[in-house]
Symmetry: C2
Subunit: 317 residues, 2 copies
């Protein structure tokens, strides 16, 4: 019997630790060639787009996809899981909250394996829906003692700082500029829909780790070409998708500031096949694409928990 999980049920079940564990596991599986992936395909709608992406993880017994129609009235995300041994449909999971947490967790995994061990200060550029889980994930993998946040609207960055200070138990301060936010940070998160760079080479300091987690489109970029060029290790969760959607790497490659040969698969770093950082002086960069195997891995755990706890609605049929 297939299970339907609502947003409310997912929110009750899902924690950042669960998402971090799921992603660690699926990245290791991927490094062994056990994970299949269908990159995101998009269809334009009048005001927005429709997105479809799939993945398989036969060793875990699951295959499935995420779909979403994003428009002016917000977006509606769903993950569908099938069994790989003829079980048919296993679950349909509403995936707005799930996606927010897994996108944070992907940056958390990158930070765990790429940031300095003693990283303690985080800067966040952006204060939207996705920014909260980004900061939460980084705080789950390092001993963070302070954070700064910059976004264009003063009121919003102040609200973000207040909310996150009380949630995470360390001080989150709003900053008046991106430059001021980033100063002395060990980990920098960019999570904006900026068309023009919010993080420039001039703002980069030795030893920084950057998670670029904003909107995926070749039309946008959060880092300028100099910031990309200064990053000695550049990793991504999916190279295929980065080559068609990662605006800052595409621009940097086109202008000779970056070579695609340098782009490392995060799963190889997680599995210890590649170093995520060679010294405390290196600048490292994670380009988050958001891929379907991350979604099915987290949803598989959600489904297991839902079954154990008797949560969810059985589908007819």
């Amino acid at each position: 019997m297939a299970l339907y999980l609502t947003e409310a049920e997912v929110s009750d079940l899902l924690s950042m630790d669960l998402a971090l564990e799921s992603l660690d596991e699926v990245f290791r599986a991927r490094s062994l060639g056990q994970v299949g992936n269908i990159p995101r395909a998009r269809l334009p709608l009048g005001r927005g787009s429709y997105n479809l992406m799939g993945a398989s993880w036969p060793e875990a017994g699951i295959v499935g996809h995420k779909s979403y129609a994003a428009g002016a009235g917000g977006a509606s995300f769903h993950v569908m899981l099938y069994g790989t041994n003829g079980e048919g449909l296993l679950a349909i999971i509403e995936a707005n909250r799930m996606g927010q947490v897994r996108t944070g967790a992907a940056s958390g995994i990158a930070t765990k394996y790429m940031a300095k061990e003693d990283a303690s200060k985080v800067a966040v550029i952006g204060s939207g829906y996705q920014a909260e889980t980004q900061l939460e994930a980084v705080a789950a993998v390092r001993q963070i003692t302070s954070a700064t946040v910059y976004s264009r609207t003063e009121k919003r960055r102040k609200a973000f700082a207040e909310t996150m200070s009380s949630r995470l138990g360390f001080q989150v301060e709003p900053a008046e500029t991106a430059e001021a936010a980033v100063q002395d940070a060990d980990v920098v998160i960019t999570v904006t829909n900026a068309a023009e760079p919010v993080l420039t080479g001039e703002m980069i300091e030795p030893g920084m780790h950057v998670n670029a987690a904003g909107g995926n489109s070749w039309l946008r970029r959060e880092l300028d070409t100099q910031a990309v060029a200064m990053s000695e290790i550049v990793a991504t969760d999916d190279i295929d998708q980065a080559r068609i959607e990662c605006g800052e790497l595409m621009r940097a490659a086109e202008t000779g500031h970056f070579s695609w040969e340098r782009l490392v698969r995060l799963d190889r770093i997680v599995a210890g096949l590649r170093s995520g950082r060679d010294s405390d002086q290196q600048v490292t960069l994670f380009e988050s694409q958001g891929v379907a195997f991350e979604d099915i891995a987290v949803c598989n755990r959600l489904l297991m928990m839902a079954k154990e706890q008797g949560i969810g609605t059985e589908l007819p049929g």
Copy 2:
């Protein structure tokens, strides 16, 4: 509120006429550039594969996808429909029966616009799950007075002949060979999983229309290169997919018996932008790929009817 429709509910709602109407409409829309399509992507599973394909039709207010995990224990198909104006999820529809009917209907549409007007005799090669709706669809668009069927297992072709004779109201005769079945036929349907050609150039007669509707894989082919070469008009429901999956056209093109430039979009024929047949002597061929816009078009109609009739289960959330 989104609706879930089971196989049983779909079977009650869906008729061949409804599917034919839906496809006629969506092919016309596609010829106007109003339909978006994401070709089928596949991931291999241990014993079978996972398939994902999507489409949009903003003028009809819908976008969505079909997914299925096909393995040793059969296959499980689902279509998910979203609204294109921020309505979010509209429906999840179990799609085994729907797929069978829409695949038949695609050949029905091709036959309607490409076969001789006075076609009366049909030959079917193959007697599996998909063969029934193929014959049913052809019988819905021409005045068919007799049919023959050939498949390798005598028992199965006899059973098919018996079932379809009583269902369609004309005589369906089993034949001992494919050659015998095809002789004097006006419309030939191949709907097999044959790896090697079941329809050869020697069996082709002037004026025949062929629907090649069997399994899609570049490893398989139902027609030999000579049969392809003899087909003066060759149409398909999706050129992109045909170029990567249509084994018989790929083989014929590779060996110089076919040029991709000759391949016509069926939607252009349906819309009258191209002729489907220029004389009663021409041989015409429809290469059925099975594409997602066909699925969402039929499912949109199903959803309308289900709502009108109060059928289906409302999803939680």
